[in-house]
């Protein structure tokens, strides 16, 4: 069976998510912390909506009913050099 990758940064498959939900990680934040979904470089831009849909389908809830994860700053990754106040050479 071919793998369906949901979170590319952290290499999490649909199967991993379904298995974790079966184990009782039915809160999205718990699922995220268990599998590291959305913790990679893209910060969940590709995977969080997909994972929310899988969770909704599996638990029989609507996406609206599920508590969404908090999006944490910065919106795009920024170098420590820029944050420290250095001029960016890019």
């Amino acid at each position: 069976m071919s793998k369906k990758i949901v979170c590319r940064c952290e290499d999490v498959t649909e199967e991993d998510i379904l298995k974790a939900i079966d184990e009782g990680y039915t809160d999205f934040e718990e699922l995220r912390k268990k599998l590291r979904i959305g913790m990679g470089t893209c910060q969940g831009r590709t995977c969080i909506m997909l994972a929310l849909r899988i969770l909704a389908r599996k638990t029989g809830k609507s996406i609206e009913e599920i508590e969404k994860p908090s999006f944490r700053p910065p919106v795009v990754p920024i170098t420590l050099g820029s944050l420290a106040g250095e001029e960016d050479e890019d």
């Binding site: 184990e23 009782g24 990680y25 809160d27 934040e29 718990e30 912390k33 268990k34 590291r36 913790m39 990679g40 470089t41 910060q43 944490r72 700053p73 910065p74 990754p77 920024i78 170098t79 420590l80 050099g81 820029s82 944050l83 420290a84 106040g85 250095e86």
Partner: protein, 380 residues
Amino acid sequence: MKTDVVIIGGGINGCSLAYQLSKKGIDVALFERKYICSGATGRCGAGIRQQWSTRENIILAKESVKIFSKLSRELKEDIGFRQGGYLVAIHDEKELKEAEERVKLQRSLGVDVKIIDKDEIKEIVPILDPDGMHAIGATFCPTDGHADPFKTTFAYARRAVENGAKIFTHREVSKIIVEKNKVKGVVADGERIDCNYVINSAGAWSRIVARMAGIDIPNRPLRKEAIVTEKMKRVFDAMVISFRDGIYFSQQSEGNILGGIPGPDEREGYLYQPTFSFLNHMARTLTRYAPVLKFVRVLRHWTGFYDVSPDARPIIGEDPNIKGFIHCHGFSGHGFMLSPMVTKIISDYISDGKDSDYLHSLSIERFKGKDISREVSVVG
């Protein structure tokens, strides 16, 4: 509903207590108002350090390391425990003298720790610039380390449930019933749960929980912030900290650098909003310590809360006035690393009435007298 012990708070201490008590065959119900790990545990650096200034913390931490090192096997899940050591910067001659005293005490208690020079700092963490750190040396303990806070807490919770513990998430305890100075039960979501013990392991919210039983505790919630960077090739294993700058950072198993520092706008309270002043201060200090990191990107920045006690030491044990009310809070930023031993002491007390010196020295009663020895080795 009826149970023997109600635990309030689903962080590392609450879940470890649920596991240990249920393993002894005691009826336990844990109430968490959000989800498991939603408080300080899920937001912490999860460092495990034995380099303390007080005898008590050194022993608690050392015994905790022993438990951590066997915990993956015991919980039948990998908790991500690794021992990369802690490197504690020494900035001047005065700090060197203090470090010598601490090291002497730590070594006398069996902790493998030594003072190292600037060259050795670079050997252990090649990206550090000792001059940028303003360091003349450091102390290093190779058996200090780290565990994954999510994996550890989830593993405790899962094994607890298998042992018969009940874990309720998204359920908030709103009332603690006390009659004739004894705990009788709690009310959660309008339902009364009869019990003999209530354990307050609510972290930064423990003051609110204690007040429900009419107990005033001197803790304050202190807002803290942390960052994590993108992943890098593995370059170092140690946690780097400085008591003067308050910074801590390490490279996670996944390759990201995670760290924190007291921010310029740090304050009491429950505000989750991260501050730019922290980010700027952290970036400046971190790139001073490890200049090459200026090319590395920050992915996330978040807040969490320390549950700070007046002497930065935990408050544990049964309340002297309310029978059945068990304190397990005030960890002041060190709840994760001390949890194995502290929760063992508390569960042995509940199950067998077993006494421990710590139940006296870390009792809430210590704030009545004047004999307070403050833990000074604090970062973050």
